[in-house]
């Protein structure tokens, strides 16, 4: 049985969380690092932008700046695509592996295969979890692009009771697959929905968090369920581990030179060519 490393980090600031994700992906891509499943949290409410999003165009930027200045929010840009996500009361996962760990799957198929553990974990708590392709098959908005991740539905989004729960996105280089995603306890639409521009009102049935879906467990129970579901769905064994010092050093460098830089966060420009 293939072994994956399991990293469980405490809360980190936004730039560090994204930098460690990229350092992990690079290690798997460039150095043959074993596959990793990582869980982490956020030290402050953090809005993460998709790789090619333009906050000045896609979001209510003045309102966003107020949240950053007055409410202690942080802003980061992900290495993955998709819409903006507010990370606050949630668990977040990241995983990196080689294509050989998944088999010959295209993007959608691999996404379905990797997200299966989320559905498996939610079902362990009795939640009615499935992919949107099944729960919202008749929804004409399925697949529509939205500025906020939680406002849209794609075929392989995870839903509970037909409503989206969390967001997930992939980055690929050659045969390396990286994916990360959010597992929210609660989604605060009042703050998040207000960031949409006037032309894009929130859908009538927006996203929800685990608590809003009726989940009443403890965070530790959730992590244990996620780990068990991952081992079951991927037929692998998770081995507790942690980032090597060289990988942490690389993450510090990426944080300082890329993810903590306004030119990257606001414009998506990488002066250092790191992303």
């Amino acid at each position: 049985m293939i072994e994956w490393q399991l990293w469980q980090d405490g809360p980190g600031d936004g730039a560090w969380n994204m930098a460690l994700d990229q350092a992990l992906a690079e290690a798997v891509r460039d150095q043959g690092h074993p596959p990793v499943l990582r869980f982490y949290r956020w030290a402050a409410p953090t809005l993460s932008l998709g790789r090619f999003q333009r906050p000045e165009r896609d979001l209510d930027a003045p309102r966003l700046r107020r949240h950053l200045a007055e409410d202690g929010w942080q802003l980061v840009r992900r290495l993955t695509g998709g819409g903006a996500l507010l990370h606050h009361k949630e668990e977040t996962y990241a995983l990196a592996c080689r294509q050989e760990h998944l088999g010959a799957l295209n993007v959608k198929e691999s996404y379905e295969a990797l997200c299966a553990f989320l559905i498996g974990a939610y079902r362990r708590f009795g939640l009615e979890a499935s992919f949107a392709a099944l729960s919202r098959a008749d929804d004409p908005s399925l697949g529509a692009k939205t500025a906020l991740c939680f406002a849209g539905h794609e075929e392989y989004d995870v839903t509970v009771g037909g409503r989206k729960l969390g967001g997930n996105a992939q980055r690929r280089w050659h045969d390396t697959v990286f994916q990360h995603g959010s597992i929210p306890y609660e989604v605060d639409w009042s703050a998040l929905g207000a960031l949409q521009t006037a032309a894009a009102p929130p859908p009538a049935q927006g996203a929800l968090g685990l608590v809003q879906a009726g989940w009443t467990g403890a965070p530790l129970d959730l992590i244990e369920a996620l780990k068990a579901a991952f081992e079951s769905s991927r037929q692998v064994r998770l081995v507790p581990s942690e980032p090597e010092p060289s990988l942490r050093h690389r993450a510090e460098h990426l944080k300082n030179t890329l993810y903590a830089q306004d030119s990257w966060t606001w414009q998506g420009r990488s002066a250092s060519g790191l992303a």
């Binding site: 998709g50 790789r51 090619f52 290495l79 993955t80 695509g81 998709g82 010959a104 295209n106 993007v107 959608k108 996404y111 697949g143 692009k145 794609e154 392989y156 997930n168 996105a169 992939q170 980055r171 690929r172 280089w173 050659h174």
Partner: protein, 124 residues
């Protein structure tokens, strides 16, 4: 003359210039394209280096240059309509054009017949 790469890009070569686009197998692999980040005109890209980055519905993916080239023209339609890369007529699904660094690199690519056999072998 038309060539294909193992990464499912087509390369249409004429008089030292190449137009590069997505073959149907690449379209299928990527899914619905939502954004394309192309290199600047005049950029010089070596074979196997990142040619462009494509965002589809669930993934951001680098595409790699099947041959070394100096970029001379971009498909301007993609800026407003990246979904053109999903066009059922593969000739419409082109990314950019450039002058070839070294025509001998074409020898590493496949003819349409060889590519068809490669696809059959991959799916067998």
């Amino acid at each position: 003359m038309l060539y294909y790469s193992k990464s499912n890009l087509w390369i249409d070569v004429s008089e030292g210039f190449a137009r590069i686009g997505l073959a149907p197998a690449a379209q299928e692999h990527l899914g619905d394209v939502t954004f394309v980040d192309l290199p600047p005109v005049t950029a010089e890209i070596a074979r196997e280096h990142t040619l462009c980055t494509v965002e589809s519905v669930k993934a951001v993916m680098d595409l790699y240059a099947p041959v070394g080239l100096k970029i001379t023209n971009l498909n301007a339609v993609l800026e407003e309509h990246p979904e053109t890369l999903n066009h059922p007529d593969w000739r419409q699904a082109w990314l950019l054009e450039g002058s070839l660094d070294d025509a001998r690199e074409l020898e590493e690519l496949m003819s349409p017949e060889a590519y068809e056999a490669y696809l059959k072998g991959s799916s067998a």
